[in-house]
Amino acid sequence: MSVGSFTSLFYFDIGAFLFFTMAIAWRKSLFGQVRLLRANAIALFLLGLLSGIYAKDAALIGLSIVILLVRAYGIPTIIARAIPHSGDQWESTRVVNTTASILIVAAITAFAYILTEPLVALNPTKRIASLPVGVSALLIAVFLIVTRRRIATQLIAFALFDNAISACAFVLTEGVPLVVESGALLDVLLLIFVLVALASNMRSQTQSMDIAELRELHE
């Protein structure tokens, strides 16, 4: 694979990654959001795969296949279970409305660019130049966790956060130490399991997945 076509494909993929991240902030359908999370994880997998093929690093390719299995299949499938199959599958109440959300997402991207500029300047290779994408995905995920009320969306945002960390790792380093990455994966996986269990537990107890209503229970 030539440097030119690698960079071109890499950029395209990281662009797609950013696009799907942004689209999650836009969509209201919970199942639509899960589909976008899958697409986002597939873009992440391709990111790893491309880097692996380019660097001829078998471990990296293996890792990206693990990512494909866990992040594009496993986690979204588990999250989809947390969505009530009958009843409200839509995120209609948001702390920040949709139009403002997508504008904030744009601002976050610009902010991420400014934030990472000194970092990129340290080692200005073409690949590291796309670090802002990873950082902005990270920030968007945080933004979603803060502003969304449905537990399913929060889980999605959390998974997104995880994907963003991996994306940053792919962009920053040539090869990821497998152990570190798998460790992080497992941590998050555990967290997701706990949250899902918690979610279905809360659903069965309160018949509602709205955090605002849970707050009332405490009082």
Partner: protein, 505 residues
């Protein structure tokens, strides 16, 4: 097998019981009597007037459910000074019936809070009452001289949007006046009754068979519903009880009419949010249903099937065809409910609250979508086997859409349940009770409960009153439109889909 059907046949015919009562009262105690029955859980379903040589006889029909109770209160007013006390204080529906009577019969409701004309527009001559005066055509005045003042909403930035009475598309006449602030509707006024056809007077002097045919023309899309109501009112007067096969066939055709109209409405809702693909599928299904109607009764609109004590229907009901339509329908609903843009247009749009709907006396789909349990098939049945009842709570466009979906599903399984009774051979209808002067019927048409009341003397109809559910539902449309945006009106209007023709008799 035959045994069990016979057993059920017996149950169907024997289980129906209606408690009827009537009383005569004077103008002093009218308010008290009606208030008493309203408190007992009755609702005012119909008010009719009959001109007699010296007096005008006004009848208030109140109906109650569980058990099916029907009570008539009669009041005579003098012809030279026709006045009656207004019931506007206790019933909104009554206040509208009174305005209608004031226009058609010249009976003045005393202390009416809004004694304006309703049916007769400004250009009708002052002293000419369609139901009383001679057949001669009155001298109409020019509308420009009379004018029609709307209650104005003033304030900075508020503007008026007049729409109609002539609309783009195939719609009947109605004038809508929006008072909007930006795109938000502050108030909507609706002016109907542009085509007074004098239908109720046309019924006078007709034989029962003629009347049944004429009733098909009250509102074209409810041909069967209205003609069934007329048939049943006549049978009620003549004391005829119909055999099970006839009753079942009628129930099936009533559901068939409901299915094709509800499918059409669902398609129109999709079309009004610009989702023409959904409409294309729905139109296809509607056509299939109408062909099925045609194979059952030789008429796509189910016309010409009813007679006193009879119904003309083919023995073969194409249940496979109905199943095919039902499964295609489920596919359509799957598409519509999963479409996020369609959902966004439907949800939370034009909410009609349960309290408001109750106050207005709403009926049918509109009422049930707002959580009111009102369904003549359950409250005033003519068969002991009824459909599954369902209501929704929200009262927005989406629940009116979903209510139709649920009703189609219920209708399909109801038709399946009734189909076996079609094959039963039975004796023809018989006179079971002594004939009476008047007959009254309640039929759940696809829009809602239709009420007809007829009086028959020597086999000729002497008086008829028709109430389409739209009569009750029209006033609720402006209520639902308040604080809804102007470009959503066509969608909201379609979700109500009220009849102009059934309203303006």
């Amino acid at each position: 097998m035959t045994n069990s059907i016979n057993q059920q046949l017996h149950q169907i015919t024997s289980g129906i019981s209606v408690i009827r009562s009537s009383e005569a009262t004077d103008s002093d105690s009218l308010l008290g009597r009606v208030a008493f029955y309203l408190n007992e859980g009755y609702r005012l379903s119909l008010v009719c007037a009959k001109p007699l040589p010296q007096t005008i006889l006004v009848t208030y029909c109140l109906v109650g459910k569980n058990p099916d109770r029907r009570h008539e209160i009669q009041l005579e007013v003098k012809r030279e000074r026709p006045e009656l006390p207004s019931l506007a204080k206790i019933s909104f529906s009554a206040s509208r019936f009174e305005r209608e009577m004031a226009d058609l019969y010249g009976i003045i409701p005393l202390n009416h809070p809004l004694p304006k004309r309703l049916v007769r527009h400004g250009h009708w001559p002052e002293e000419w009452y369609p139901m009383i005066s001679s057949q001669e055509k009155p001298k109409f005045e020019s509308d420009r001289q009379v004018g029609y003042p709307f209650q104005e909403v003033a304030g900075s930035g508020i503007y008026e949007i007049p729409v109609g009475p002539i609309h783009a598309g195939m719609i009947e006449p109605g004038h809508f006046r929006f008072f909007a602030l930006g795109e938000t509707v502050i108030r909507l006024r609706i002016r109907l009754w542009f085509l007074h056809k004098g239908l109720e007077k046309l019924f006078v002097g007709k034989t029962p068979a003629e009347a049944i045919t004429l009733a098909e023309k009250i509102s074209g899309d409810t041909s069967f519903g209205h003609s069934l109501a007329m048939t049943m009112a006549i049978e009620d007067a003549l004391g005829i009880t119909v055999p099970t096969r006839v009753a079942s066939a009628r129930a099936i055709l009533l559901e068939a009419e409901r299915i094709y109209n509800h499918i059409g409405d669902i398609g129109a809702l999709a079309n009004d949010v610009g989702f023409s693909w959904g409409n294309a599928i729905a139109l296809d299904l509607k056509e299939e249903m109408m062909r099925l109607n045609s194979s059952l009764t030789q008429s796509r609109l189910l016309r010409g099937t009813l007679g006193v004590g009879t119904v003309k229907i083919s023995d073969h009901l194409d249940l496979i065809g109905i199943d095919r339509i039902a499964s295609k329908f489920e596919e359509l609903i799957e598409i519509l409910t999963n479409h996020s843009m369609v959902r966004d247009r439907f949800h939370g749009t034009a909410i009609l609250g349960v309290a408001q709907a109750k106050e207005m006396g709403c009926l049918g789909v509109v009422a049930r979508a707002s959580g009111i349990e009102v369904d003549a098939r359950i409250d005033h049945p003519f068969m002991t086997i009824g459909p599954t009842a369902s209501t929704l709570e929200t009262g927005d466009v989406n629940s009116r859409f979903l209510q139709r979906v649920n009703e189609i599903r219920a209708s399909v399984s109801y038709i399946r349940e009734l189909a076996r009774f079609l094959r039963v051979e039975e004796p023809i209808a018989q006179v079971s009770t002594p004939p009476r002067e008047s007959g009254f019927s309640l039929v759940e048409g696809w829009r809602g409960t239709i009420a007809h009341r007829v009086e028959i003397k020597d086999g000729i109809i002497t008086n008829a009153k028709i109430v389409d559910p739209s009569w009750f539902n029209w006033p609720s449309l402006p209520i639902a439109m308040t604080n809804t945006i102007v470009p959503d009106f066509p969608l909201v209007n379609k979700s109500f889909n009220l009849s102009y023709s059934g309203n303006d008799l």
